[in-house]
Amino acid sequence: MTKAALLVLADGRFPAGGHAHSGGAEAAVRAGRITGSADLEDFCRGRLHTAGLVAAALAAAAALGADPVALDEAADARTPSPALRGTARRLGRQLLRAARSAWPDAGLDALARTFPKGAHQPVVLGVTARAAGLDARDAAYCAAYESVSGPATAVVRLLSLDPFDATGVLARTAGEVDRVTDRAVAAARTALTEGVEALPAASAPLLEIGAEAHAARPTRLFAS
């Protein structure tokens, strides 16, 4: 077991489908809510503390060995937008394929049998971390970081934003990624004894609404 597995899993080029998704950034750009790096930073901070926190807690709980079926239901309950639920399952299925090739594991095989069309991505991420010999904190880090790195890289393409500015946003939010990860892991530990109700349910209504509007657009660069 090696900590470098975390670098493999968190690498933006890990082939799990993320490149086709903007994490809601395309909808926000189209609505005029992201016009430059300052807006992008606000957007990322908002997503980190809402969808990012929830995803990180789900991933941590899955890495601790909580029941994936219960976690998947908890993820559904925390995702009002049908479009976002569909996206989360598609990305979960894609991650599961990559994970089973990278870290063959009975837990991952079982997840594939239970969810042939995909479980929520953070749940798969947590089971993957476990298969890779990583811990709950690693899984939470991956989810929290993904919640900001996805939009940041997408906005480079959407707005022709200076890539150094986008990377600066990620560097400046790093401390908050640490704190969100801490909260997520604490909540996941509590959920092991108290049930999935103990997991955070932070909501970002504009992300949910934007996802529905985006899904109905006939032309778009990113799938979500």
């Binding site: 082939p15 598609r90 837990g107």
Partner: protein, 226 residues
Amino acid sequence: MHLDHSDPHAPAAVGADARRPDGRRRALRIGLGGPVGSGKTATVAALCRELRDEFALAVVTNDIYTREDAEFLLREAVLPPERIAAVETGACPHTAIRDDISANLEAVEDLEDAVGPLDLVLVESGGDNLTATFSKGLVDAQVFVIDVAGGDDIPRKGGPGVTTADLLVVNKTDLAPYVGSDLARMAADAKAQRAELPVVLQSLRAGSGVRDVAAWVRGRLAAWTA
């Protein structure tokens, strides 16, 4: 965890596996790539018309920011709608066919689940540049489509698509006189770049149309099922 470990029908982890989870041989997958506007979708449509009565077919399209390629095939009614699937590529068509193939693999597998068994799945790339190639994890063979109007120096310039594709198609030969392209030179340059790999010069508007490409596909299918 209360997950069942006893079910032998676990989904395949690796896309290149030649057999489906139930043990049957999966469909042959042929990728079609090439620059924007070279005639990939028209070639796919013509292949569907030529081969659909002989083989069980389906098509996956990769559009860049619309669903126009899938909609063109639907409008042309080359296949029933349930046999055409569209993949979204997030502004990076070559990523979806080469670096991160998971969405395309799922589209192919879902088509086989929904309308299979299939003999052949055509995977059409979004229009890209001369370096775009398909991963071997996604397709069994690939066709690179260029056209005479894109410049008759493209075969000479080479690039991974032109030099390594299993079949190079030089399309729109009927336009050569109007754009000043030298077909003989294109054919000779392609031969020099590709050694023994085949090249087809075709016009879908004149002569034998897609027949040569269809014959090549039949050859690949015969080898796949042998």
